[in-house]
Symmetry: C2
Subunit: 261 residues, 2 copies
């Protein structure tokens, strides 16, 4: 009897240097391990060193996050360029940091696609340059910018996008504007998409229905909702340089769902 | 008898300052007028002034052009992350200019998505900074770079992406490497996608099956093949600033087909 052994299908095509404390899998069963915040940060900084600048990353994250949001808003059924009477409304909640800048980039692309965007960003005397650059571009859209929670809509919006939190500015959570905007989001009954949320479960003020992780996921918990992974354009050898053996899990997509294993 | 008049559907939602010498329309019948090369250039330069830098544009064009190419290559049927044995091959032909840099960015994203990319770029002693930056990033992928036509494959590839031509370097067409690479492309029987091709019909050496226009189309002719339009992230008020009354024809998409009217 001649048994032809078929090559085994390799489901584990991404290997990280530390034991992942949480693993996810794609629709087709490929394992996507989580990485620590520190390793994720190192990955981005090595990518920057090779020329994948923050500006490029902001642009790519904005495009892919807006593609995901457009699909959550109903895609072609809701966004027909011939029908300008049923524009969906998105409230975009941003903190004064790089994660906020990612959100503003996403908001510009949404506004470019006829979504009515209301951007909340608290007033600060001195803003990060990346935030200022994104704001300049956003101000050229039809999108609206508010700095006070009372200017956010009273009625439910179609989608809330949460970019308030970041690992390194946890102290923002104690500020009055932060607490007010969390209350607003919890009272508004819109579903929430979190872009690049931090890990800390305890202090997260707004529960997400969906979360979008960038490049590789952090070990996010249940409060992050349904997890999606976004390709942010990092080439394979950059992953290698930080000790990650990486093969793209994306196929032809740029945003894919991840499932808990 | 009570006749409710419905509001007329406005098909002409983009108005350009000069009479367009050619008009296109979208699948849903919205008119997309062409613009002259000079107006297109002015649009990009005003966008840059407001912070939509060349780097951002290269990243966004690279992402959207690669999304189009991935779909031309067969999309999810061809690019299954569990099947690494049937990787498609793309020959990417780039000149030493910004249009070439756009192509290299597209090539990086294709390579990140498991496409086998062979980038042809002629050797020049001094390269544009934008080309060098893209090359640095491309070199971190599994993609292959060649500078001689004889290193391009003898057998048909799945797709040729043409970024050889640009309006302002027409003299390149007289160079031996240019002629050799045109001959190679015409002998290889792969279908050709041109990214951001120039208008000049006479001198175009490679016929395209598809062409991708950026932002608004130039008055491209038949040799450009089937035309697609790519959103490159320019906000409405930037269009206004150069005299274009603009409403997005994209709906929820970032690349849409255009038809001759």
């Amino acid at each position: 009897e001649n048994i032809l052994e078929s090559e085994p299908i390799v489901y584990r095509r991404i290997v990280v240097p530390q034991n992942a404390n949480k693993e996810f899998c794609t629709d087709s069963g490929l394992v996507v391990p989580s990485v620590s915040y520190e390793l994720h940060k190192k990955l981005l900084s090595v990518a920057e060193k090779h020329g994948l600048t923050l500006e490029r990353r902001l642009e790519m994250t904005g495009v892919c996050a807006s593609q995901m949001a457009l699909s959550l808003l109903g895609g072609p059924n809701r966004l027909n360029p011939k029908n300008v009477h049923q524009r969906p409304t998105v409230a975009l909640l941003c903190g004064p940091h790089v994660k906020g800048a990612q959100g503003i980039s996403c908001g510009r692309h949404l506004s470019n696609h006829d979504v009515h965007v209301i951007l909340f960003l608290p007033n600060f005397v001195k803003m990060l340059e990346s935030v200022t650059n994104e704001l300049n571009l956003f101000s050229k859209t039809q999108g609206q910018q508010v700095s006070s929670v009372k200017d956010l809509p009273d009625t439910p919006v179609d989608l809330v996008i949460n970019c308030l939190d970041c690992h390194e500015n946890a102290f923002l959570r104690d500020q009055p504007w932060y607490k007010a905007v969390v209350d607003w989001a919890n009272q508004n009954r819109a579903p929430v998409l979190s872009i690049d949320p931090p890990i800390n479960e305890m202090e997260q003020g707004i529960d997400a229905k969906w979360s979008l992780a960038l490049g590789l996921p952090l070990p996010l918990g249940e409060r992050a909702g349904r997890l999606y992974l976004c390709d942010i354009g990092i080439p394979q050898k950059v992953f290698q340089e930080v000790g990650i053996n990486y093969h793209s899990p994306f196929g032809c997509k740029f945003v894919i769902p991840l499932h808990s294993t």
